[in-house]
């Protein structure tokens, strides 16, 4: 029991709070798929700069993977709407103070650019134009991957979602899943390129883990609502097991596996780290999404 309750010794005897979790696994799918869709663009850009000859063959498949995951993200965004067939109101009656609106417009731009890139490289076979467009795709992918953090920050009823940390976590989720996906896709890459991807994977996992732990440990300094929210993942909380399974799968094990793979030059360990990171991130995102919603607001 926390301090305020002890002080007042008060019990709610009649109250009808809002039922259940409002943004559930569908929104988790949204965030997870978007991380992959933007992350592969960031990492393709890196590979083409550092290993232009051997990474060239990835241009088209990576663009397709990005398009597929961005569309999964869009699909799950739209099916979560209670009025699915009104989603175009965002374009016809936009309200630009909303990060939801701003994000939707920018994603639309990214999707158009990705289709153009796929056309340019697959039909026109023009890699020079593709690479120019890829630079723009990277630039646009940054706000695309970050804007969900802005939505969460605008959701002011859920104090756990702090803007600077959520933005960092979104970016790290993109580099984590982007590098993991390219490790799985990049069979023809040299070991050096794969090791680079592994290092990015391991570092992303490390920093993301540190940020989560910082919030866990130092969170109570921010306010009573955060203390109460974090109780769901601490000790015998409702989501403790799921939280730690997520942290282990997404961050801790991939970090260890990357280190082991570098010392043994093992590609299969890198692949295992990648699969764990991609699957684990879903769990991590889900827990962090639902726990602030357990808090009663009134």
């Amino acid at each position: 029991m926390h301090a305020a309750i002890e002080a007042t010794n008060a019990v709610v005897t009649l109250d009808v709070g809002l039922p259940g979790i409002v943004w559930g696994w569908i929104i988790t799918m949204n965030m997870w798929a978007k991380s992959i869709g933007t992350g592969v663009i960031f990492l393709l850009f890196y590979l083409l700069k550092k290993y232009p000859n051997e990474a060239g063959y990835l241009r088209f498949p990576v663009t397709v993977v990005s398009l597929v995951f961005i569309h999964i993200f869009l699909l799950f965004t739209v099916i979560d709407l209670h009025h699915i067939f009104r989603f175009w109101h965002i374009f016809t009656q936009p309200h630009f103070t909303s990060a939801i609106t701003v994000g939707a417009w920018i994603v639309t731009g990214l999707v158009a650019l990705l289709f153009l890139m796929a056309f340019t490289v697959f039909i026109k076979k023009n890699t020079a134009s593709f690479d120019k467009m890829l630079t723009w795709a990277v630039v646009i992918s940054i706000p695309v991957t970050l804007y969900t953090a802005a939505i969460m920050a605008e959701a002011t009823a859920r104090e756990l979602w702090q803007m600077p940390t959520e933005a960092v976590q979104m970016l790290l989720a993109a580099t984590l899943t982007g590098s993991a996906t390219l490790i799985l896709m990049g069979g023809r890459l040299s070991y050096e390129a794969k090791r680079d991807l592994g290092l990015i994977l391991g570092l992303s996992a490390f920093v993301a883990f540190i940020v989560y732990m910082s919030e866990m440990v130092f969170g109570p300094m921010k306010g009573e609502e955060i203390i109460v929210t974090l109780q769901a993942v601490k000790g015998a909380g409702q989501y403790t097991t799921m939280f730690w399974i997520g942290q282990a799968a997404a961050f801790i094990l991939p970090m260890v596996l990357v280190l082991l793979s570098i010392s043994s030059r093992s590609e299969s360990l890198l692949k295992l780290a990648s699969i764990l990171a991609i699957a684990g991130l879903w769990i991590v995102k889900y827990v962090w999404l639902v726990i602030p919603q357990l808090l009663n607001l009134s």
């Binding site: 309750i5 007042t8 019990v11 109101h89 939505i151 959701a155 607001l297």
Partner: protein, 211 residues
């Protein structure tokens, strides 16, 4: 004009007349509410006391629900009311996640967001909100906060224990409570013991229906 609400918690006797009047006036479906009266019991038997707190949308001057709504379904009208246009709403639930007071619900029949509008349709016809009319002890005081001679403005001037809910959120609510304390107004200051509420079998329907 800036319309506002004040509830004198010294007067409120928890009859729920306002809640029922609101349900009827606005056809609020079962399992959802625009206005509700929360009961909190304080102390240990035999030294116990029950408090009653009517809760509704605060019509914040700096409303996060209005800001996050991607289609301006939630919008200000010139008398300061935060109103909702159900035809625009796409049902994203952003507003539910943004309102620090849990004042918004998805109407299970229309699948759109809904909340207290201070009975904007009645105000437009120069009538008082339904809950104000229904209150047998006149605990609800409604009026223009910009007019220093209005009843609500005078009430605020005369009562030094006037409070708003969660001022630290910076939403600047236009809904005041006289006689409220942490127990009534801070959800973290009271415990919710499962199975020990007045009506134990509360039906929890899914927020929209499609989940």
């Amino acid at each position: 004009m800036q319309l506002g609400f004040l509830v004198d918690l010294h007067l409120c006797m928890g009859c729920k007349g306002c809640e029922i009047a609101c349900k009827v006036e606005n056809e609020v479906p079962l399992s959802t509410w625009r206005l509700r009266v929360k009961y909190v019991d304080v102390g240990m038997y035999p030294e116990t006391k029950r408090t009653f707190t009517p809760l509704r949308c605060n019509h914040c001057a700096n409303a996060p629900c209005e800001r996050i709504c991607p289609v301006s379904a939630l919008h200000y009208i010139e008398n300061g009311i935060v109103n909702i246009d159900k035809e625009r709403c796409i049902g994203c639930a952003g507003c539910i996640m943004a309102c620090p007071y849990g004042a918004i619900y998805i109407d299970p029949e229309t699948q759109t967001a809904d909340k207290c509008t201070y009975c904007a349709h009645r105000i437009a016809s120069s009538m008082m909100p339904a809950c104000v009319v229904a209150c047998p002890v006149q605990a609800n005081i409604f009026g223009d906060l910009d007019d220093p001679t209005s009843e609500i403005s005078r009430y605020i001037q005369d009562h030094h224990d006037t409070r708003v809910r969660k001022p630290e959120k910076g939403t600047n609510p236009h809904h005041y409570y006289v006689g409220g304390g942490d127990v009534n107004l801070n959800p973290l200051a009271s415990e919710r013991v499962e199975g020990y509420s007045l009506f134990n079998n509360i039906t929890h329907l899914p927020v929209g229906g499609h989940h």
